[in-house]
Each structure stands twice: as structure tokens, then as C-alpha cells.
């Protein structure tokens, strides 16, 4: 099976999102903002005003902090860009989507299909995964300009809200769709068929641990 390439706007139409299939390779055009725990806490728990017009300017939320520096003259030097694992932000995402109209959640590792069904699908949103992980230099090349860095004094460079203009930025992989299907869980299910054979002969440790499972279909996220 050959993979399909799609160029997508960061303010995509509902049709463009509906057209995405699991495993499509996506390149993005338009404004993308980074938001992770620092931004979520400041916006949702401390009720700070979100310093952008969302989703008019962008509906693409990147779980990321770039390898970048703010120069003394206020300019930016942005090198590499890669995602951080998204499952840790499940607690804030439903409210964030409702408040900002985010439709493209970009990060590492995806969410569970339960997350997709409960608040991605009802919001018309899908998950795009970065590739690798760690195609930081390739993604960095896709950044045309840094438009702004919000809250860097309050949150530090790594947690600040970076607003970047992407030009054919990618690759990303479509990891959920509007039916709530999850690419990673699909792959897990295929791999599980082999697990019994791989574990043959091994034994559980003589000293167990609280909360331990021998169910290899389990995941450690969620």
C-alpha cells in the first residue's frame, strides 16, 4: 500500500478534515500555535485571555516547544521543532477545543480512541502525529517565520505559546479520523497477534508490583 500525501491548511474546511484517512501523510500551510501544559493551565485554570483570535487565525494546536531562542533585540532564532507526548494533556483538551475551536491537534503518540470518540469527533477534530519521532530539522525547515511568542516571560521559552507560519511543514501522519478510529490502536492489534510467541518460556517476576498487568494489549497511556 502506498501512502497518500495531502497538503492541508491550518484553518481547514470540515470537508478537508473529513477526507483525511488514517496513515495519510500531511504537510501544513498556515499559522500554527504551540500549547502544552503551561498554556493550558494559564488559559483554562488561571483564565488568562488567549492572545490570539482562535480559530480564525489557526485551528492547529501543536504539542511542542521548539529548540529556539529569543535574541536580545527581540528577534527569534528557531532551529528544530518536534512534538511532545500528547496523552498527558487529555485533562485540558476538551475545554481547550471548546474554547478555541482547535480542529488539528498535532503531537506525539496520539490519544486513545476513547478520547477521539468523546471530544475529537464531536468537535470535528483529528489528530496529526509527528514522524519519527524526531524529524526536528525537517519540521524546522517548514517554519517560514515566527510570528509571535506569547507568555514567554510567565512560562519560559519551552512552555510559551509560539506562533509560527508554516509552509509545507511536515511530514505529519493522520492518526485519527472522524469515525474516532485510532491508527496506533490499529497497529497495536496487528502486533498483538505475535506476542504470545515472543513471550514463550518467559515467567512473571517472583516479586510482583502493585498495579501490574500481564495483559499485553494494555497501554501505559490514558
Amino acid at each position: 500500500m502506498s501512502l497518500r500525501e495531502v497538503v492541508l491548511s491550518t484553518t481547514p474546511t470540515a470537508e478537508a478534515i473529513a477526507d483525511l484517512r488514517l496513515g495519510d501523510i500531511v504537510y501544513l500551510d498556515g499559522l500554527i500555535y504551540t500549547a502544552r501544559e503551561g498554556v493550558y493551565m494559564r488559559a483554562l485554570e488561571e483564565n488568562a485571555n488567549i492572545p490570539m483570535e482562535l480559530p480564525a487565525e489557526s485551528s492547529a494546536n501543536f504539542h511542542c516547544s521548539p529548540a529556539a531562542v529569543i535574541r536580545e533585540d527581540g528577534s527569534f532564532d528557531l532551529g528544530a521543532v518536534t512534538a511532545t507526548a500528547s496523552f498527558r494533556f487529555a485533562k485540558w483538551l476538551p475545554e481547550w477545543m471548546a474554547r478555541t475551536g482547535a480542529r488539528l491537534i498535532i503531537g506525539k503518540g496520539g490519544m486513545s480512541s476513547k478520547d477521539y470518540r468523546e471530544y475529537f469527533v464531536p468537535n470535528g477534530a483529528v489528530y496529526l502525529s509527528t514522524v519519527g519521532y524526531g524529524t526536528g530539522a525537517l519540521l524546522g525547515r517548514g517554519v517560514e517565520t515566527v510570528e509571535a511568542v506569547h507568555w514567554h516571560e510567565e512560562l519560559g521559552i519551552a512552555q510559551a505559546m509560539w506562533v509560527i507560519r508554516a509552509r509545507r511543514m511536515g511530514p505529519f501522519i493522520v492518526a485519527s479520523d472522524l469515525t474516532g478510529a485510532c491508527l496506533f490502536e490499529r497497529e497495536n492489534a496487528l502486533i498483538e497477534q505475535n506476542i504470545e510467541r515472543v513471550y514463550e518460556g518467559t515467567r512473571p517476576a517472583v516479586m510482583r508490583r502493585y498495579g501490574e498487568t500481564d495483559d499485553r494489549s494494555d497501554e501505559i497511556i490514558g
Partner: protein, 318 residues
């Protein structure tokens, strides 16, 4: 006497090389993996990674946006003397870390664990870590920087002699499965296994096995070397590849290091050095020569010595 200014300038160069240039041994390992990979998604991922390493070198930008947590390993020949002593050395490494963080730039990853405050320069309490080793001969020092990334892919467990090799196999597989799903461990990786020691030194052994040994290196104990081959194949037989997609390549290599432990226990740690296996090494001599390389060559016979005395030193004295 090794000038401290040379240590600082070399350390800055190493920070740059580690962040930008994938070491050749790992690159060769990943290229070989990409030739055997036939899963469509996992093949795509490996090709993208190879493109990424080329882009990083071409643009002189960090290969990954998560530039890891910079740390230092310093190894000194027994005759090495450093201008200003160890305090000056540590100051030079801290300065180089801070300067390179804004110069390259790196992501200032290091924050206070509770207050989440930072200095935007990867320096803070206990950061960067600086660890030491010594060799019986030489007037040089080796500076090794490792920028290990990732919050996932590492685990520890107290096993017991009755768990045996099958218990070791299971914990190894459990670690790969748990952190390999969705590619949390950023595999295919160099997997380091630490066996024995105490809880803390077992973690250190595993981390050093992953980060301070190259792809293709083998433990000097032939039976452990056999285990390394076997565990590499075992990891690759799971059927999981890059990003947790169906694939054949999970482990680029498996390195095992051991330390003597309590007679009742068999500590085990597993560490994954990610797709961005950032390490860079330089040897500095007192006459100002600097030689760069990517093999830390940490685990020498001296580091793995078993006896009370270092035998060659005794022989020389006789």
C-alpha cells in the same frame, strides 16, 4: 597542564556536534534497518529520519526539537592535570552548556522539578550532570557529552536469582512493549541493559550501556556478548517498528553492562537511547591537541576490572 579555556571551547564544539550530527555507527545501523523494513508506515518513518539527519547537518540545526538533557562524562588519564583543577573544569562545562543552549539553539529543557522555573540555559541544580572515570595511563582528558532525550523507554526492576534468564527476557520485552507502543521510546533505538550493582548503579550501568557504547560493540565477556546478540534479535522479533507501527526494527543494538550485586538480588534496568542518539567525544592533550570522535570508548578493561588490584600495574611494579 590542560588549559581550561581549551576545555571550554572544545566543550562548546561538542555540544554543537552532539545536537546536529548523528553518530556514524547509529546512522549505519539505521540505514541497515531501513533496508530490511517492509512495513509501509515504519519504512516511511525510517526514510523520513534519514532525510532529517541530512537536513540537520546541511542547515546546521538541531536534529530534534527536543534536544534532550545535556550531560557530561569526563574521563582522565592518571597523569592528566587541569589548569584550575576540577572546580575550573566544572565551571567550564557549565558555561559551555549555557552558551551552546542559546548559540545552537537548543531547547532549554531543564527546569526545577517542583517550581518549574528555569534559567533558559539548561543549567541548574545538578544540571548538567558531570560524571567521572579514570584510566591508568595518559595525560589527556576525554570530554563526552550525551544529550539523552525522552521521558519514556526506561525502567528498573529488582529481580532475583530465581527469576533467571527468563525473568530478564520478560522484563526486557515488557519494557520494549510498554514504551514501544505509539513509539513513545522513539525507537528503533540502542537499548542499554544494566544488570546488578545496586538500584542506583544498575540504572547508571544501563544508561551508560545505551549511551556510551556504539552500535556493533560487544561486551568483553563472550557469554554476555552472546546475550547482546540474542536480545537484539528478540526485540526485533516482536513485530513492532518505528512509532509502534508494524515493523521489523525496534532495536538497532542491545548493549549489556554488569556490576557485582548483593548475593540475593539481580537488579535490572532498561534504557532506550532514542532515534536522536546524541553523543560527541573529544580527547584533549596538554600540548593543545584536540581529537574528535563519536565512540566514547568508556568501557575499557580498567572500567570492567574484577580484582582488588589493577593487574597490569602490579606486573609493571614487579
Amino acid at each position: 597542564m590542560i588549559p581550561v579555556s581549551l576545555i571550554e571551547s572544545t566543550a562548546e564544539t561538542l555540544m554543537d556536534k552532539a545536537a546536529i550530527e548523528i553518530p556514524q555507527d547509529y546512522l549505519d545501523g539505521l540505514k541497515a534497518a531501513s533496508k530490511t523494513e517492509d512495513g509501509d508506515l515504519s519504512s516511511f518513518v525510517l526514510k523520513a529520519m534519514l532525510d532529517n539527519y541530512a537536513a540537520a547537518k546541511e542547515d546546521r540545526r538541531a536534529m530534534c526539537g527536543d534536544t534532550g538533557v545535556p550531560r557530561w562524562f569526563v574521563k582522565m588519564g592518571n597523569e592528566a592535570r587541569i589548569e584550575g583543577g576540577p572546580v575550573a573544569l566544572e565551571a567550564a562545562l557549565r558555561r559551555a552548556t549555557a552558551n551552546a543552549t542559546t548559540g545552537i539553539p537548543l531547547r532549554p529543557n531543564r527546569v526545577h522539578p517542583l517550581w518549574r522555573t528555569d534559567h533558559n540555559n539548561n543549567v541548574g541544580i545538578g544540571a548538567p550532570e558531570i560524571e567521572y572515570g579514570f584510566e591508568p595511563e595518559g595525560d589527556w582528558i576525554d570530554l563526552i557529552t550525551v544529550h539523552k532525550g525522552g521521558l519514556f523507554g526506561t525502567d528498573y526492576r529488582m529481580l532475583f536469582p530465581s527469576d533467571g534468564i527468563q525473568g530478564i527476557r520478560r522484563f526486557y520485552l515488557d519494557s520494549l512493549m510498554a514504551f514501544g507502543k505509539r513509539g513513545l521510546a522513539c525507537q528503533p533505538a540502542i537499548i542499554g541493559i544494566g544488570l546488578g550493582g545496586s538500584k542506583d548503579t544498575c540504572m547508571v550501568l544501563g544508561k551508560r550501556a545505551a549511551t556510551l557504547r556504539t552500535v556493533g560493540s560487544r561486551n568483553s565477556d563472550p557469554r554476555i556478548a552472546e546475550m547482546e546478540d540474542e536480545f537484539r534479535e528478540l526485540g526485533n522479533s516482536i513485530g513492532m517498528g518505528a512509532m509502534g507501527f508494524v515493523g521489523k526494527n525496534m532495536v538497532i543494538d542491545c548493549n549489556i553492562e554488569v556490576g557485582y550485586c548483593h548475593t540475593g538480588g539481580m537488579q535490572m534496568s532498561v534504557h532506550a537511547f532514542c532515534l536522536s542518539s546524541r553523543r560527541a567525544v573529544a580527547r584533549i592533550w596538554p600540548d593543545g591537541r584536540v581529537e574528535h570522535r563519536t565512540d566514547p570508548d568508556w568501557f575499557t578493561d580498567y572500567q570492567r576490572r574484577e580484582g582488588v588490584e589493577w593487574e597490569p600495574a602490579l606486573e609493571a611494579a614487579e
